[in-house]
């Protein structure tokens, strides 16, 4: 895939034109001496335009073009898995971004010879630009698999805002003050490692989400994604809880990862293809137990979300006890209630918002989880920033939204009552979605039972599992 994409991508007139333009602009700045006037800023602006805008935008047609040209079917019939298709597309664009980055390195070195430039600083900025470009490209490649123009349009708008936010952040905090992120801080290297790890995880998550859009149902993406997200959230949460290195930022990062993973798990469509469950059933009781957390579909996503919420809450309590002497008290109860509620209310909100007319063919089980998430987020922001108690009370039926309100120190009412009401709603929500998941549980139990019988039958007759097509299918997925 990578070879084909590189062959095609680098032969396009657009790529050639942009590459030549970048070289011409850089050459022009070199003639100006790079430091004259705003040449230095223009150097970075050119890179910004190429890496943060031009290259990520190319990702928008990555998978959709194959679908539109009816070539996706043909590729899917080869041995390439959906993941490898998405990864190949992504890597080809990132490789071209790397080529752009490498092509300006000589100019960066020349800037040093012209004087007044710190090469190390330039290299850090190049790394950050490149990392941002990788992340945005992953997002565009992911959403290029969504057939619905509305979803892709919304993401495009989101990315424009994200690019704007990055510009403001970089411009205000660093360029104007002539410094780089984490400069002078004791664990600066950890910051860069953290950025790298976070970008790598986010890219994986986004690409897997895109891949699951084009994958057959028998290709299980959910289990691996959940397991990796568990580690990605668990590591910063554990580091934050157990070490003295930036505990709060680490816990916040871990909680954000956990939240995104929960959202994805709760919005997944249940799958009833036996081959998806076979690798778990083959591992006996422990396999089935793990399946309760890792099986695809929102009914199992509930338990996964509860586990992630519990992990985040445990880390918050640990940080509180270790660094604040356990002063959070009633906030901790509020966090517990809100986290429990968040995992169930989100699913319920997604479920309730179902409407065939508004159904977005996004591959997610329900129509507009993006809209629901946006609503909850906005409500949460409003709760977290307003000082009006009435508005805070409005958020009670939405425990996710009441989370910031409960932690808001400006709130003058009784936190105990709010916590109790929030917990009550959470339990109610949880009961409703648990009941609506019962049919899926019983259907999956049926599949497990028939697979178990098949397995026993094979071992009784002495037929090796090597001849089972399931084996090669599973090993393919593992590969």
């Amino acid at each position: 895939m990578l070879v084909k994409e590189l062959r095609q991508g680098m032969r396009t007139k657009m790529f050639t034109a942009v590459f030549i333009t970048v070289q011409a602009v850089m050459g022009f700045f070199m003639l100006l001496g790079f430091t004259a006037g705003g040449a230095s800023a223009l150097f970075w602006l050119t890179l910004y335009a190429v890496l943060i805008i031009f290259q990520p935008l190319r990702g928008f047609s990555a998978l959709s073009n194959e679908i539109k040209l009816q070539t996706m079917d043909l590729i899917q019939l080869t041995r390439l898995t959906a993941w490898r298709i998405a990864l190949g597309k992504y890597t080809a664009i990132v490789a071209q971004s790397a080529l752009f980055t490498a092509s300006v390195l000589p100019y960066a070195v020349m800037r040093y010879y012209f004087g007044g430039i710190d090469v190390q600083e330039d290299l850090v900025w190049l790394f950050l630009f490149f990392a941002t470009s990788c992340l945005l490209t992953a997002a565009t490649v992911c959403f290029s698999a969504f057939p619905n123009l509305l979803v892709r349009g919304a993401v495009l708008i989101g990315l424009i805002f994200a690019a704007g936010a990055i510009t403001v952040f970089l411009g205000d905090d660093y360029f104007d003050r002539d410094r780089i992120p984490f400069e002078g801080e004791p664990y600066a290297w950890l910051g860069y490692v953290g950025i790298f790890a976070l970008v790598a995880y986010a890219c994986y998550f986004l690409l897997d989400m895109g891949a699951s859009q084009i994958a057959p149902e028998a290709e299980n993406h959910a289990s691996r994604k959940r397991a990796i997200s568990f580690i990605a959230a668990g590591v910063p949460l554990a580091l934050g809880a157990l070490t003295d290195v930036a505990p709060e930022p680490l816990v916040i990062i871990g909680a954000i990862i956990a939240g995104v993973a929960c959202f994805d798990a709760l919005a997944e469509k249940p799958v009833f293809v036996p081959s998806v469950y076979a690798p778990f059933v083959r591992r006996g009781f422990l396999g089935r137990l793990a399946g309760r957390l890792l099986y695809p579909g929102w009914p199992f996503g509930i338990w996964y979300s509860l586990l992630m919420a519990a992990m985040a809450v445990a880390a918050i309590i640990a940080v509180d006890i270790k660094h604040h002497g356990g002063s959070l008290d009633d906030e901790v109860a509020a966090v517990l209630a809100a986290s429990f509620g968040a995992s169930s209310s989100l699913r319920l909100a997604i479920r309730l918002s179902f409407s065939a007319a508004w159904r977005i063919s996004s591959g997610w089980d329900d129509p507009h989880p993006c809209g629901v998430l946006l609503f909850l987020t906005l409500l949460g922001i409003m709760m977290g920033t307003t000082r009006a108690d009435e508005v805070a009370l409005l958020g009670l039926p939405v425990p996710l939204a009441s989370f910031p309100a409960l932690l808001d120190y400006h709130f003058s009412g009784s936190r105990e009552i709010m916590t109790a009401v929030s917990l009550g709603f959470s339990v109610l929500y949880f009961a409703v979605i648990a009941v609506s998941a019962i049919t899926t549980y019983s259907r999956v139990r049926g599949i497990e039972a028939s697979l178990g019988e098949m397995q026993r039958g094979q071992s009784d007759t002495g037929t090796g599992s090597g001849s089972d097509p399931l084996e090669s299918e599973a090993s393919d997925a593992a590969a």
Binding site: D73, T78, R79
Partner: protein
């Protein structure tokens, strides 16, 4: 499980719905190894949906489908290894030559090094793509493109080939070339499942034909079986000296005779009998009633006609079933009951009496018959 366990293609009670539309409605059939099967149906009959499900590119709403005994839903990866798929139209990549295209798919199919090179060369030789090796694929003609697409589907030497309208849009020369290639593949023992609108070509190539209509299989058998199935009818071509309108006027007035289509000097008539004596009787009547007949010869029943007749028969059966249900239901009490009522628009008429029944069937004008 061996790859040869079970039939080459087995479909059992397959259903596929898109919203309220039932694209495939309980399709069941079985294709043995080495057979060439034609899949026939009007546009929207459910051919492509069935084929896409078999090719693991779509899911059934209910039912089972397997290729060489392997379930297409549960084990798509395994099925894909023994399946070659050629869609009705295939997209082209920009900036890619024929040899690069095949090389890409050979890589994607897991061939490495010399083996990959050998597979690409073999396929190019088979599909006669050698002279086009360095041509950009978006510059190929439709026929060349179809040959390339067939070549791509053969890269991994699949046991079963599913070809969806491979001859659509091809000129006669390209069609003959493609037919030749398919014939060679059939001789190699591959199972070929092919859909087409050109029934005569399918009849030549296929061991048997599957007819699908409104998502249901309506006939499974050889072309001969289908054409023979209409043995109680005969089609004759008649030419007159002078005004050809006389023939249609005469047919409109005659029992058991129906004008199928008109031509410059006459037309084709369907006679509701296969008995030579009765056919001779029709000619005798034409002559005695003053028609200037200069040519009268019996036509072999065409597959297209047989298919259209089959569809007509099914529609009549459906209409009869609807009418029977409507008749079985007691009429609702309405104010003014007993007064004569106006028939509703779209009300289903009772089926026409069968040939041989008396009285004579109702007559249709040639224009009705065309419609």
């Amino acid at each position: 499980m061996s790859e040869l366990n079970g039939a080459a293609i087995e479909v059992h009670n397959l259903h596929r719905s898109f919203g309220n539309l039932k694209a495939v409605d309980g399709v069941t059939f079985r294709v043995e190894h080495g057979q060439v099967i034609g899949f026939v149906g009007a546009n929207g009959a459910g051919k492509t949906t069935t084929m896409r499900i078999l090719a693991t590119l779509d899911y059934p709403t209910a039912g089972r489908a397997s290729i060489c005994g392997i379930d297409v839903v549960n084990y798509p990866g395994n099925v894909r290894r023994m399946l070659g798929w050629m869609p009705d139209s295939f997209g082209t990549y920009d900036h890619m030559t024929v040899v690069e295209y095949l090389d890409f798919f050979a890589r994607a199919l897991g061939f490495r090094g010399e083996e990959r090179h050998a597979r690409v060369t073999e396929v190019m030789d088979f599909a006669d793509l050698g002279p086009l090796a360095d041509r950009l694929i978006n510059k190929l003609s439709k026929g060349m493109g179809q040959r390339l697409c067939l070549g791509r589907s053969l890269l991994h030497d699949p046991r079963v080939l599913i070809l969806d309208e491979p001859a659509a849009g091809l000129d006669p020369k390209a069609r003959v070339e493609l037919k030749h290639l398919i014939r060679i593949l059939a001789e190699e023992g591959k199972t070929i499942f092919i859909s087409s609108h050109i029934l005569s070509e399918l009849a030549e190539m296929c061991d048997s034909l599957l007819f699908i209509n409104k998502g249901r299989i309506v006939h499974h058998g050889s072309a001969e079986e289908l054409t023979r199935a209409g043995g109680d009818q005969t089609v004759v071509r008649v030419e007159l000296h002078g005004d050809p309108q006389k023939l249609s006027d005469w047919a409109a007035m005659s029992p058991y005779v129906e004008m199928i289509d008109a031509s410059k000097n006459g037309g084709r008539l369907r006679i509701d009998s296969g008995d030579p004596e009765k056919i001779g009787g029709v000619l005798k009547r034409m002559v005695t009633e003053g028609l200037p007949v200069v040519d009268f010869h019996r036509e072999e029943r065409r597959l297209e006609d047989a298919f259209i007749d089959l569809l007509g028969k099914l529609e009549a059966e459906d209409a009869a079933a609807v009418a029977a249900v409507a008749a079985a239901q007691p009429p609702p009490p309405v104010p003014g009951e007993g007064l004569p009522t106006t028939p509703k628009i779209g009300a289903v008429a009772p089926p026409p009496p069968l040939p041989g029944d008396s009285p004579a069937p109702p007559k249709t004008s040639p224009s009705d018959a065309e419609n």
